[in-house]
Symmetry: C4
Subunit: 192 residues, 4 copies
């Protein structure tokens, strides 16, 4: 039950984040198809961020599924993750409205990087709480996907600034697709 409220609060915050992003899709005043054209990049950035927030919810769900107990440190590590996720609507809107220009794309990557690090801290805090031999620690293992994501974001940010913003977006999409496959490590472990 202790754990339950952390999940409920996180569900609430993530549900609001994933939904208010759609408010950036401002209702156009004209009725023809051309009125939708300026919304296309905003829509594409919405889809990408919906994927990301959905992935974070899925992984958060799997992670806490395995946790037996939470501590004060876990609460703060969790709020730290929610902080970075709460910035996603802002960078999504900025990136979408400016047709994936270099600086907004780099900031988008920066927020993704912050969220990835926060997620890593949260999972390590939970492992510290449960012990290195706990099911959770074993299921997480070396967390290859988490590490490679951080590396890709760290590559994508300078790529956006100095080479090509679209290449960075492609990398963001790549990471998303990599995570779309649900965390089989944990799911396998949950099987009896």
């Amino acid at each position: 039950m202790f754990k339950g409220r952390v999940e409920a609060f996180s569900d609430g915050v993530i549900a609001i984040i994933i939904t208010i992003m759609v408010l950036e899709l401002k209702v156009p005043h004209a009725v023809d198809l051309s009125a939708l054209r300026p919304l296309i990049p905003v829509f594409l950035s919405y889809v990408l961020s919906f994927l990301y927030v959905g992935i974070y919810w899925n992984n958060h769900h799997h992670l806490l599924q395995m946790a037996q107990q939470v501590s004060g440190n876990v609460l703060w590590a969790n709020l730290h993750l929610l902080f970075w996720l709460s910035l996603i609507p802002f960078v999504t809107g900025w990136m979408g409205e400016n047709h994936f220009a270099a600086i907004p794309v780099a900031f988008y990557g920066g927020v993704l990087l912050g969220a990835a690090i926060a997620y890593y801290i949260l999972s390590r805090t939970l492992v510290a709480r449960h012990g290195k031999d706990s099911a959770l620690a074993i299921a997480l293992g070396g967390d290859f996907k988490g590490r490679i994501s951080v590396v890709i974001y760290a590559v994508a940010i300078p790529l956006a600034l100095f080479v090509n913003a679209w290449l960075a977006c492609l990398l963001y999409l790549l990471v998303a697709l990599m995570w779309l496959i649900p965390d089989r490590r944990i799911e396998r472990n949950l099987q009896p």
Copy 2:
């Protein structure tokens, strides 16, 4: 409990969707009745979408009520449904602000069609998980209402574009009324 968090997250997202639509009803600056006149189509589209989102929540509630377990696939099928539902406030505002013009009405139907297909995929994913002889599979049966809804949307979209947008709206209303009757198939099945 595993299932519980999928329900909680879906409840959160659907609750936000159904509530932020009302933000499209912009507070008028004048105080006479005529100030409300331009809001009438926005209000009507709000009522229609409130009905639809309410119906989806009701059906989602009934569907997951019967599910015993969820998998990674179910999580993603569920997020896919929430994605389409999250677009409803946008098309509702666009349709309402433009007095049910042809193109916005067709897009509204397109989002309803997407949501209907996503709901169908979700229910099939759950059936695949529970087996063809499960109570859930038997209760859903051939899913007549789901199929006929998809057909009606597919008819309504070209109708809106090439014949009359109001006819399409009438069809949307018809589908809503058809669903207002809660899913007796499942409810009957839940009776001991």
Copy 3:
């Protein structure tokens, strides 16, 4: 658990309604006290509506507390109540921005009347489900406060339109204060 999700969804919608009303308190661009003056009526209407939504949540909480089971009819009666409550932010903003002018005050009363009737229907639907001899039916009794509220709203609306809008507001406040006292009928009944 069946009941649990109706509560969770209602909690979500009511939580959003009570919170988005504060968005009508637009951040002023100036920093002196006079910049807050135009916000005073908006703030007062926010406080009144916060009270009302809080009362509805409290009563909804007490009502469902006593319910043993919900049906398709209950789901729809509940959505009907949420529909009226979802209109409160709109009428609150309209009334507040126009310094409690006659027509917005009358509409505010109209929404309160709609919500009161919807709540009455919900409680009767629950009584019908549980039987006239159920604890819920006995605890609700003749529902004196519910009836008198409807009468007061019905008086306040023409009063706002044809006599004085402030008198109507006073009546709304009176009803709110009457309800602030939590529903002792039910609470007494819950004691062992």
Copy 4:
């Protein structure tokens, strides 16, 4: 379960408060770094308020964790706390947009003071319900941190108005950091 719904509703409201604050970070139309400069004070005030709302959620979590039962009075004391918290996005936006000017900073402190008093009332109402010898009463003890916070806010408000707004902000930050350390009194008490 009675207590559960109070927690769920509070989680919902606090989740929305913590998330809608980010909407004050308006998406800039330009793409260079200088476009972000006017957002820096808004961002800083967002971080401070995120900390505060996070602290309130954490403490609320710990407080209700120890409660065995809730009463009508507790429901209202809780709504009173949520009311003050709901004003945080408004004062955050006002303070941030005006670069921490004296009057907005004083109002920010006023809302923090109101929330602190409301939290104190809530904890006393819970103590009254559970008895002076209850685990909750013993864990709360003299509530030193709660009292000192109220004193610091009461000092910070005139400081902002008559001396220096930044000093007041520093005091707000100090209180936040003091609370960041989770309420060990209660956590220790929860250990078996």
